[in-house]
Amino acid sequence: MRVVLVDAGGANLGSVRYALQRLGVDAVLSGDGDVIARADRVILPGVGAAAAAMRRLRALDLVPTLRRLDRPLLGICLGMQLLFESSAEGDVACLGRLSGRVEAMRAMPGIRIPHMGWNGLRPCRASSLLRGIAAGAPAYFVHGYAAAVSAATVASAEHGDAFAAVVQDGEVAGAQFHPERSGAVGQRLLANFLGVA
């Protein structure tokens, strides 16, 4: 199985690659549209700001590739946010693979932003991505923007408001948390996406 990690300059590229190695999968790091289009699985990691990440994807001419991609695609953290139509972070147009807009999370009394730490996953509907992951299982989040719960949401989490924690629509999937840093729960989600569970 050829797994390609999209090299869009995300700071967590290395961590995701190591997590895949712990599953026995040696992923290829690539910014080449042809390599990405031929992969069996594509992962779009991301740490940083949405506008900078979209600039980088445009500079690599990867926006058409990722819009057209018919392979299973998993966005992680910012990578998941880029799958939506747009983001309020820098008010930028994104890849449009999922409908909706990513918005800034709202601070409230006792609710600090960024949302940082371990929070429980709440399954919203059945999905192969959640196989073996119990309701309430803790995952590690670090983000200040989030997508609202929608038809694409398979698991939500709550920090003040509820938001989309895991999404899936056909071949397009995403995790707002960091599976590469979420212990056994994260490892399970990656294995489910790769079909190596």
Binding site: N12, V47, G48, G117, W118
Partner: protein, 258 residues
């Protein structure tokens, strides 16, 4: 619901984990990877590696260990010490660290905080603050605390600096209460409460943990998001699993140890 975090801090000197009392007299505790794995297995929610040799001496440090830790650890970790530029932060983050913590370089050039937030997002940017109460009763910031010879007292009050770093893009603040560090008499609850009142981003308490009750007080009385400790974990006097059971018994939400 978001859990409160328990964070072992591993002071790294010359490639090994060390521990000192009141920031001095360091003794070797063990190998970096061994301790990282041990704390992960015990249920630590996050790790901080504090490179205590790097900043005051201004020398380049071999951070090959960051990549080695990233390969074996599946919980988040932060690297502190000796990161004074966007490029240095990029090196550490690309090696696999999830966050970088900046202390003295941010005091020298506060613009650095915004530059880091723009480059990596504010969620990556942790500001460490070394704070001590002066004779007039005010908490003020100390710089270059890696050794007593370099430590400088600044006129800047801790509360003013906490507000400034948030305006500039800090995503989290670690408050090292120097007066209580290493002596196990409890976190500085009064100071943490004062900082909490002006801190809208996650706040991590550091310095003074000696008993389980000290952790309970930091969460229950100062409403911190996380507690950091070193020696009580290194010497085994507090086990993380047991600590979490006690915290839960006190109504504090923590992550299950798997």
């Amino acid at each position: 619901m978001l859990s409160r975090r328990i964070i072992p801090c591993l002071d790294v000197k010359d490639g090994q984990v060390v521990k000192g009392v009141r920031f001095r007299d360091h003794v070797v505790v063990g190998a970096i990877e061994d301790l990282a794995r041990r704390y992960r297995d015990e249920g630590a929610d996050e790790l901080v590696f504090y490179d205590i040799t790097a900043s005051p001496e201004g020398r380049r440090v071999d951070r090959g260990w960051v990549e080695r830790v990233a390969r074996i650890i599946d919980i988040p970790f932060c690297v502190a010490g000796g990161i004074g530029s966007v490029e240095q932060a990029r090196t550490v983050l690309h090696a696999g660290a999830d966050k970088v913590s900046i202390n003295s370089p941010a005091l020298r050039r506060p613009e650095l905080i915004g530059e880091l937030a723009d480059a990596f997002g504010r969620q990556c940017v942790v500001i460490g603050i070394d704070s001590l109460r002066d004779d007039d009763g005010q908490w003020r910031v100390r710089r270059d605390t890696g050794s007593t010879a370099t430590t400088q007292a600044l006129p800047l009050t801790t509360l003013a600096w906490v507000e400034e770093v948030q305006r500039r893009g800090a995503g989290e603040i670690v408050l090292n209460c120097m007066g209580s560090d290493g002596v196990r008499a409890g976190y500085d609850i009064a100071q943490l409460q004062a900082v909490r009142a002006v801190c809208a981003v996650p706040l991590v308490a550091s310095g003074g943990a000696g008993t389980v009750a000290h952790f309970v007080a930091a969460f229950a009385d100062a409403d911190v998001d996380a507690t950091l400790a070193a020696s009580v974990f290194h010497d085994g006097s507090i086990r993380i699993g047991e600590l979490k059971r006690e915290l839960r018994a006190n109504g504090i939400e923590v992550r299950d140890v798997c």
